[in-house]
Symmetry: C2
Subunit: 142 residues, 2 copies
């Protein structure tokens, strides 16, 4: 047995990656379908993933089923790192929604009315893949 | 009104991106949960997205609920492009599974027993985001 080309990332490093990025992919239920969308996000003071949704967006499916998954990754010459989150989404209202203005969650198109959604992180897992032979390493998590 | 910073990608270009990449993110049902995983893939002769799964992988959820979503993206200095697929997954057996050996879907760890899963593409949508002001542009699809 050689050393495994896949290694777990410690939660501290996974959180650091989440805080250091602003672009991920959100998977969510829409009725009985699963959907995925690229999305900008920020991490708030309660360690929630905060995103904005436009009215009429498919993301309003979040209000029907709060169960979501979220992924970010970073790929460079030597390795790829991926962080996967499972959590629950809920819409922020009033004061909480206003507080999001303090986050580095940048506004989208000005004319679009936006809702603010916070995702509470229930599970966090990160993996690091050596890219010396990348095609041997991208094994879905058990 | 200024020109929209978000533009649809034509199906031909979206397919070209799917054929030109080998790394994406697969969202799938596992019981009543949505999960997401980074994954290697290839496109086969029937325009299906083909992936390999390890025994015991969460991806075996695909055998319980075939409904999946899949995303790839490319980001460079000026723009980001994302392609999102919705489709149905099924396990390939026998001759069909063997044919996958002809695809540029590279093997994972040798000792892991693998299943081959093909995803039939039902919906394909691609979007291009100008990155001059990226934070204004990542609006989830309507």
């Amino acid at each position: 047995m050689t050393e495994s080309p896949v290694a777990k990332i410690a939660p501290e490093e996974a959180w650091e990656m989440l805080r250091g990025n602003e672009f991920g992919r959100l998977a969510f239920h829409l009725a009985d379908e699963v959907h995925i969308t690229p999305i900008n996000y920020a991490i708030d003071a309660q360690d929630r993933i905060v995103v904005r949704t436009a009215e009429g967006s498919k993301l309003l499916g979040l209000t029907m089923n709060a169960d979501v998954a979220f992924e970010i990754d970073e790929i460079d010459e030597d390795e790829a790192r991926s962080v996967v989150v499972r959590g629950r989404a809920h819409t922020l209202e009033g004061h909480e929604a206003e507080e999001v203005e303090q986050l580095p969650l940048r506004p989208w198109v000005d004319t679009v009315k936006l809702n603010v959604v916070a995702i509470t992180v229930d599970e966090l897992s990160g993996r690091r893949f050596s890219l010396t032979r990348p095609w041997r390493h991208m094994i879905p998590e058990d």
